[in-house]
């Protein structure tokens, strides 16, 4: 027993003894949580202000990203909708439609490669629809081979895929019916100067460029005036158990003059082409970032002002034994609470907005990764935003409580 402990033992029994000092970490977290939530919900105006910042950031950033993803989806949906995993096309192809065609010989080669269950040709090119009232509208013509119809129309709202088996018959996009002069099933139009019949309508197949119009292979070849033996794509379906990368490698070896891509590879190529050719990524990215910055500033300032308005309380907490670390726990708990509440509200709103806005021309896509990512990003943002408030607290002298 040391001298000091002996001294304490010698004190009269009724005298209060020195205490052990700091409580265990768990209790300090619990005390700070009690204060953190007490303060947050006591100051309703600040609570709403801060939440507004988080909700705004969540809403704007997600809306921008979801719109961007929706646009990327519209531009790759043709590729993604096909069950063919292998796409053979001209070396220069980076988007739909390709600028160049390849020889039909690739089709024969592809059919000879082990690992492909089938291979089918597709032709794609620009079409111009002459409107009855004068004027013209562009479409993207896609011709597919019967009876397989690989690469053919899907998402039909009127008629079905088989309508293109009728002579000189195309399907058009439902959302473009007005634009194309009030199309109906059975309407007759001139496309590239030749008469065609409207056989059915697809829904929502709208990339950046002209909408898709599907027809039988030879019909479309004729409309496009394609040279004999030229195709835009050869689509290949893997045999059960075959590996897409291995089959693609084998095809590349056998067909050195063409480009062989997997379905995912082609999708990625289209997206990176769009990102490079247009400022769309930057535009949406900037808006999303703007949302985050505004949210950060709002959360920063309102958390700081909550501290500045309550300096005496924070000073008192320091005087009665809370350390800077304890008070950073307090701010951390508040920041995380703001982030969780705000992002849940924000995501609820953006989901509703997405439902409201989505249509044939635009769909907002909110994948689960984005939703989870938002919560994480908002948490990081709010915790970072609390640092101004923390700096103010750290500077606070506990002696101020006596002033």
């Amino acid at each position: 027993m040391n001298a000091k402990a002996r001294d304490l033992d010698a004190l009269p029994a009724h005298i209060a003894r020195p205490l052990p000092g700091r409580a265990p970490l768990k209790l300090r977290w619990s005390a700070m949580a009690r204060i953190a939530w007490g303060m947050m919900f006591h100051q309703k105006l600040k609570l709403f202000g801060t939440l507004f910042g988080v909700v705004f950031a969540t809403l704007l950033a997600n809306q921008q990203i979801a719109t961007f993803l929706g646009l990327m989806h519209k531009n790759t949906m043709y590729v993604k909708a096909q069950d063919a995993e292998i796409w053979i096309t001209a070396p220069s192809t980076q988007q739909l439609p390709p600028g160049q065609t390849i020889s039909e010989a690739a089709l024969m080669q592809a059919r000879a490669v082990p690992g492909l269950a089938w291979a089918e040709p597709v032709v794609v090119g620009a079409g111009t629809v002459s409107l009855p009232a004068g004027g013209r509208e562009p479409v993207t013509l896609i011709g597919v081979k019967l009876p397989h119809r690989a690469g053919g129309p899907w998402n039909m709202v009127a008629g079905d895929g088989s309508v293109i088996e009728q002579p000189d018959t195309l399907t058009f996009e439902d959302a473009e019916r007005e634009k194309l002069g009030g199309l109906n099933i059975g309407s007759v139009r001139e496309v590239n100067g030749k008469r065609v019949y409207v056989g059915g309508f697809t829904w929502g197949l709208l990339p950046f460029g002209p909408s898709y119009a599907f027809g039988e292979y030879d019909t479309v070849r004729r409309l496009l005036n394609l040279e004999k033996d030229q195709v835009s794509f050869v689509l290949g379906k893997l045999a059960p158990g075959a590996d897409a990368t291995a089959v693609a490698d084998e095809l590349r070896r056998r067909l050195p003059d063409v480009q062989v891509m997997t379905r995912d590879g082609f999708r990625d190529t289209i997206i990176s082409y769009i990102l490079k050719q247009t400022a769309i990524g930057v535009t949406f990215g900037t808006s999303a970032l703007f949302g985050l910055i505004v949210g950060f500033v709002i959360v920063s300032l309102s958390m700081l002002s909550a501290v500045v308005d309550n300096l005496r309380e924070f000073g008192t907490l320091k005087a009665v034994g809370a350390t800077n670390w304890d008070l950073s726990k307090l701010l951390f708990i508040q920041a995380v609470t703001y982030a969780l509440m705000g992002s849940v509200i924000g995501l609820g709103l953006v989901t509703r907005v997405a439902k409201g806005i989505s249509g044939a021309k635009l769909s907002l896509i909110l994948p689960p990764e984005l939703l989870i990512g938002s919560v994480v990003v908002m948490t990081v943002l709010c915790v970072a935003a609390s640092s101004m408030a923390l700096m103010r607290i750290r500077k606070l002298e506990p002696a101020m409580v006596f002033r």
Binding site: A16, L19, E313, V401
Partner: protein, 231 residues
């Protein structure tokens, strides 16, 4: 370790150079265990400054202060909060309660910081509020209590967890005479029951009679050997 508080030659200078102001000059203060001491003196004489140094919220420029034999002068800044938890309960001129928390939570938080698990903290907080005659007002926020009631919650918080030393800076300043006397009597009773050593700064001559001893400070100097016993 004859004294609960043993301060020797404590000097405090605010500022530096031309603006330097000597606020305390060689102060010696010894407070025996369990004493209820009052510190009195004119405005600006350095009472709050001295109390802040004894309370480990302000560091003396020179001199030595021991609490229960432990030197608190010269310890690093980040150890001071540990010392406050070990030794000190504060009562301020204003109540300084957290406006957003109930009376019970204001006391319970102090208990948690002193190591009481959540449930015990709640039980002990209520017991202390009962003791300061606030039974049934556990869930009131400070704004829903009278000035005297608030100061009683502040007393409950100061003694929560039984720190050996209670430092009070004009605890009756914001109260009327009757309430001031009541609150001081309550503090006095609690201190006697629980063995707290109390230093209470006051201007309020109506409560002088409650002190074991009154120490006078003027111009930063403790008036020599001023050991008046209350009548």
């Amino acid at each position: 370790m004859k004294y609960a508080i043993d301060a020797r030659s404590v000097t405090k200078v605010y500022g530096e150079g031309d603006v330097a102001q000597r606020v305390l000059e060689g102060c010696d203060v010894q407070v025996p265990h369990g004493e209820f001491m009052m510190l009195v003196g004119p405005s600006g004489s350095g009472k709050t400054t001295l109390l802040s140094i004894l309370g480990c919220v302000l560091r003396a420029t020179s001199g030595e202060v021991r609490l229960f034999g432990e030197a608190i002068t010269g310890v690093p800044e980040n150890h001071l909060s540990r010392l406050r938890l070990s030794y000190i309960g504060f009562i301020f001129q204003g109540h300084n309660l957290l406006a957003s928390l109930s009376a019970e939570d204001n006391v319970a938080v102090q208990l948690q910081l002193r190591g009481y698990p959540t449930k015990e903290a709640r039980r002990e907080a209520r017991a202390l509020l009962d003791r300061v005659h606030l039974a049934g007002k556990y869930h009131r926020r400070p704004a829903e209590l009278s000035g005297g009631e608030r100061q009683r919650v502040a007393i409950a918080r100061a003694v929560a967890g039984a720190p050996p030393i209670i430092l009070a800076d004009e605890p009756t300043a914001s109260l009327d005479a009757a309430n001031g006397a009541l609150v001081t009597e309550l503090l006095r009773e609690l201190a006697r029951e629980r063995g707290h050593t109390v230093v209470c700064v006051t201007h309020d001559n109506r409560i002088f009679s409650l002190a074991d001893r009154i120490v006078r400070i003027e111009d930063g100097k403790i008036l020599a050997d001023h050991r008046e016993r209350a009548a």
